[in-house]
């Protein structure tokens, strides 16, 4: 498998005492965030009077359910994320802007993603200013904390065993159609290997909301995820 770096954030239970300190440290630089946000303004507006453009407006994005703005024409994938109950909390937003497809595979947001963790952190600090429950209000727990764990390069460098992947994949095919049909359940054929690994880790870490997939991915080891990715990558 190719080497690449994904900073997938992992929501760990915060140890109580260290919390306040970390919150203070974790605010992020909204000023830099405003600059980073220029990458997004082609499609998204935020602030007073913001309206929907190619992308939905981002006022109140923290805590908003994915795909929930009335009248906005979302992709099927984002509609599905809505159905699954995806909510834009810090970790979800962070994973999404890092690599949109990691979280919502068929999203219409054709954006490479922001690879620099500090830039993401800062742009989220900026967006937070337009959400009613910013992190510096103590009781606004959901958006407050960020504990980042990177998938280590070792994990990402694991060379998957495609034969093992083939056996493991048989379990996927009970629900996901092998011919790529995607009524009700998304297609998993012809995925880019990277996207596959990232998506599976996102389920495993419960960033993606679907309970069946959280369970399926939750019991896969890093080797098994690599094996599956290798198998699906080779699939014609």
């Amino acid at each position: 498998m190719k080497h690449y770096l994904v900073a997938l954030t992992l929501a760990l239970a915060p140890p109580g005492a260290a919390l306040a300190e970390e919150v203070a440290e974790a605010l992020g630089d909204a000023e830099n965030g405003a600059k980073v946000f220029r990458k997004c303004t082609g499609c998204h507006q935020v602030g007073p009077g913001a309206s929907n453009r190619a992308g939905p407006h981002l006022n109140g994005i923290f805590g908003r359910r994915a795909g929930s703005i009335e009248g906005f024409d979302y992709s099927d994938a984002m509609d599905r994320a809505f159905g699954d109950g995806l909510v834009w909390e810090y970790d979800q937003l962070d994973a999404y802007i890092e690599n949109p497809r990691a979280l919502v595979s068929g999203t219409r947001m054709s954006f490479r993603g922001i690879k620099d963790p500090q830039d993401r952190h800062d742009v989220l600090a900026y967006l937070r200013e337009f959400t009613a429950n910013p992190q510096d209000i103590p009781e606004s727990a959901p958006t407050a904390l960020k504990r980042e764990v990177e998938l280590s390069p070792d994990v990402l460098a694991i060379v998957g065993d495609p034969e093992y992947g083939e056996y493991l994949a048989s379990e996927c095919l009970t629900c996901h159609q092998s011919d790529g049909g995607d009524a009700g359940i998304p297609s998993i054929t012809r995925w880019v290997e990277e996207d596959f690994v990232v998506a599976m880790h996102a389920y495993k870490q419960k960033l993606r909301p679907h309970p069946v997939m959280q369970m399926m991915a939750g019991r896969l080891s890093d080797e098994e995820i690599a094996a599956l990715a290798a198998y699906f990558a080779d699939l014609e």
Binding site: R80, F82, E163, S170, E171, Q177, G184, I185, M215, R219
Partner: protein
């Protein structure tokens, strides 16, 4: 005739090579699969597909059309037509080279390693896979046996029975009474009876809103109970009464001639009576001497019978541990068995068994719920490792997404079974 020739060659070779896989004229080991349902069709397809022609696969199944029990309740509810749950074996034969034999297996000669067919002749095997589903324990509900199944259908094997039950429901007199005699554990599809009740209520609410639905149930609790009861209150308020064991739900007898159901001494006159009897492994398991009590015990690592190392048993017929008897489970077990059988016959790699199951149920239009779990094999049993269930009070969008997901699953599993 093809079969006789095989039978002849098989027997001749069996004498020569006792423990090594028998080889037929083309030098291939032979797998025979009995039962072309969720377990059997999947196993046959995976062995044929993954062995690339190195294994000779024969599938014995009497019916030319397989009606899935899964989604048969949705047919009763008017969400699917009968044709949409009908499948055939054409692709398994043409695309995967499986010999599909439409006949009943009547017995297994475990020493000679042959399966006898009702139509005469026998088929030799190196490995045998049995996935015959369930049969009913007659007399377990006093007054009910198979001769009563027209008056009081079970509709627990899909097809004509399901169509019969549906037409009886639709023909109920205004304000009539539908009675279900629910089965004790273990039985095929734990939420199945309660999904059926939901679908019957869905039909009656529109066609016959003063009709009553009564469930006589020997179980104190049932699968997804909180979700079903919430849904019944919400969608079918006042229509459904369940008589649990505290009120005599386990003390039931029926009279098919008078259409009476006696629940703990109280006689109910039914317009439609759906008796879901006590169940046991498909008869062939018992005929082959592979059962203990009502079910066939297996080792979860490979789904091999605990009584015969050359026979694997799948699905509803087995006693394996924690997995519910479902199509999803049978399909999952079939893949483990297929891998083990290929490993034994061709030396292909064998990985640790993994199993999973999810059962979706529809309560009303766009109101779907699900329950699922993952499992692994231990030496004693297939043991549950993790699980989830839909929550009460979920919003409409999530319930709709869950229902849509079940439609995707149906497409997925049926193409995984039949190609």
């Amino acid at each position: 005739m093809k079969l006789n020739r095989r039978a002849f060659i098989g027997t001749a070779t069996a004498a020569a090579t006792l423990s090594a896989p028998m080889l037929n004229a083309q030098g291939k080991p032979r797998v025979v699969v009995v039962g072309g349902g969720a377990g059997g069709a999947t196993a046959a397809r995976y062995i044929a597909k993954d062995s690339d022609g190195a294994i000779d696969v024969t599938l014995i199944e009497p019916s030319r059309t397989y009606y899935t029990c899964f989604f048969s309740n949705l047919y009763i509810g008017g969400f699917r037509d009968l044709q949409s749950i009908a499948h055939n074996y054409a692709k398994l034969a043409s695309d995967y080279g499986i010999n599909v034999v439409h006949d009943w297996a009547t017995g297994v000669d475990r020493d000679a390693k042959t399966v006898a067919l009702a139509g005469g002749g026998s088929v030799p095997y190196d490995r045998l896979i049995l996935s015959p589903g369930i049969d009913f324990v007659e007399g377990a509900v006093p007054g009910w046996d198979l001769s009563a199944q027209t008056a009081m259908p079970h509709a627990y094997k899909a097809g004509t029975q399901t169509a019969l039950l549906k037409s009886q429901i639709e023909a109920m007199p205004e304000g009539g009474t539908f009675v279900m005699v629910a089965p004790p554990n273990p039985y095929r599809c734990p939420p199945g009876p309660y999904e059926r009740i939901s679908m019957v209520a869905h039909v009656l609410r529109d066609r016959n809103p003063t009709a009553k639905i009564i469930i006589a149930d020997p179980k104190a609790n049932f699968s997804k109970q909180g979700l079903f009861e919430e849904g019944w209150n919400k969608h079918y308020s006042g229509m459904i009464t369940r008589i649990g064991p505290d009120f005599g739900g386990e003390n039931v007898s029926v009279n098919a001639a008078t259409m009476e159901v006696d629940v703990d001494g109280e006689v109910i006159k039914a317009d439609v009576c759906n008796v879901i009897p006590v169940q046991k492994a498909g008869h062939i398991c018992e005929a082959a001497g592979l059962t203990e009590g009502n079910w066939a015990p297996v080792d979860g690592h490979t789904m091999v019978s605990r009584m015969d190392e050359n026979i694997h048993i799948l699905g509803d017929a087995t006693n394996q541990g924690d997995m519910p008897k479902s199509g999803f489970s049978a399909n999952s077990q079939a893949k483990v068995a297929a891998m083990a059988v290929r490993g034994a016959l061709t030396g292909s790699r064998v990985f640790p068994a993994k199993f999973s199951n999810t059962c979706w149920s529809l309560i009303d239009t766009d109101d779907g719920v699900k329950v699922g779990a993952s499992y692994e094999a231990t030496d004693e049993k297939i043991a549950k490792t993790d699980g989830f269930v839909s929550q009460t009070g979920e919003d409409a969008a999530l319930r709709k997404a869950t229902y849509e997901e079940s439609i995707g699953w149906y497409e997925g599993i049926t193409s995984d079974m039949f190609g």
